[in-house]
């Protein structure tokens, strides 16, 4: 019984941390502050889902957390790549090749 309350306290603390991260997401002066806050918010979402899954004993919530961990990382890299190259079409390996040749205008 007491473990239930402790898990709920952990969930509450993670939710508070998420709220703080959300305020930085809205207030961040640069793009990179926002990307950082988004990534950290996603990590805390994963933690909240894991705690909720253990709290209620539902195994499916943990699966959602796993999926969210993968999507969070890919989304962060995709946002950074888009705002650096203004395109998601070309692979990063070809971008570095183009830069080596000297035809790119990304620098």
């Amino acid at each position: 019984m007491i473990m239930l309350w402790i898990n709920m306290a952990v969930a509450l603390a993670v939710a508070v941390a998420m709220a703080l991260m959300l305020s930085r997401l809205f207030a961040g002066p640069t793009l990179y502050d926002r990307v950082l806050a988004t990534n950290s918010f996603g990590t805390k979402t994963i933690l909240l889902l894991l705690v909720y899954g253990v709290l209620t004993g539902e195994s499916a919530v943990t699966d959602i957390a796993l999926l969210y961990a993968l999507i969070n990382f890919v989304a962060t890299i995709a946002i950074l790549k888009f705002f650096r190259y203004r395109s998601l079409e070309i692979a990063l390996a070809q971008m570095s090749l183009r830069r080596a040749i000297g035809g790119g205008d990304d620098e």
Binding site: V14, L20, R24, L36, L66, L80
Partner: protein
């Protein structure tokens, strides 16, 4: 007290200790991201504490679930966070650095002598520009603009 109850109590105690440590790290990271003055310091607060706090919370939850499928899933989630969180932090830092975002060295004066000399030279040229602007404005008979910034 039976041995089973004792084991359960010990597991719960370890779990509570790990969860408390993880919550402290997560909250410290969040407050640091909110309050630190510069992007790179915020990155330091978020990147370092997020990884450790998340791992501590995941391991603390693993002590509660015992040997089951949920433990394996928790271990997998912790492994993913352990791999992706520092990589994402590094990617954000690298992108900001390549985009030319300069770190805040000091609130008042740069620590490096060369940067300090550059700052002094910039201040000097700005003052000269202002004096020139005032003189040209006097010659033209226009009212003198006060305040900072480039007068042109």
């Amino acid at each position: 007290m039976t041995p089973d109850a004792l084991l359960s109590l010990a597991l719960n105690a370890v779990s509570v200790a790990l969860l408390a440590a993880g919550v402290v790290f997560v909250l410290a990271g969040a407050i640091g991201v909110l309050r630190l003055p510069d992007f790179y310091t915020r990155l330091h607060a978020a990147g370092v504490t997020d990884t450790l706090g998340a791992e501590l919370i995941v391991i603390g939850l693993m002590f509660q679930t015992g040997w089951s499928l949920a433990t394996a899933k928790l271990a997998l989630a912790g492994f993913l966070i352990f791999l992706t969180s520092p990589t994402a932090t590094h990617a954000v830092a690298n992108a900001a650095h390549r985009a030319g975002l300069k770190p805040l060295l000091s609130r008042h004066q740069p620590a490096h002598p060369r940067l300090r000399a550059e700052l002094e030279a910039a201040k000097k040229s700005e003052a000269e520009n202002t004096i020139e602007a005032i003189e040209t404005a006097d010659k033209a008979g226009k009212p003198v603009r006060t305040g900072k910034g480039r007068a042109s």
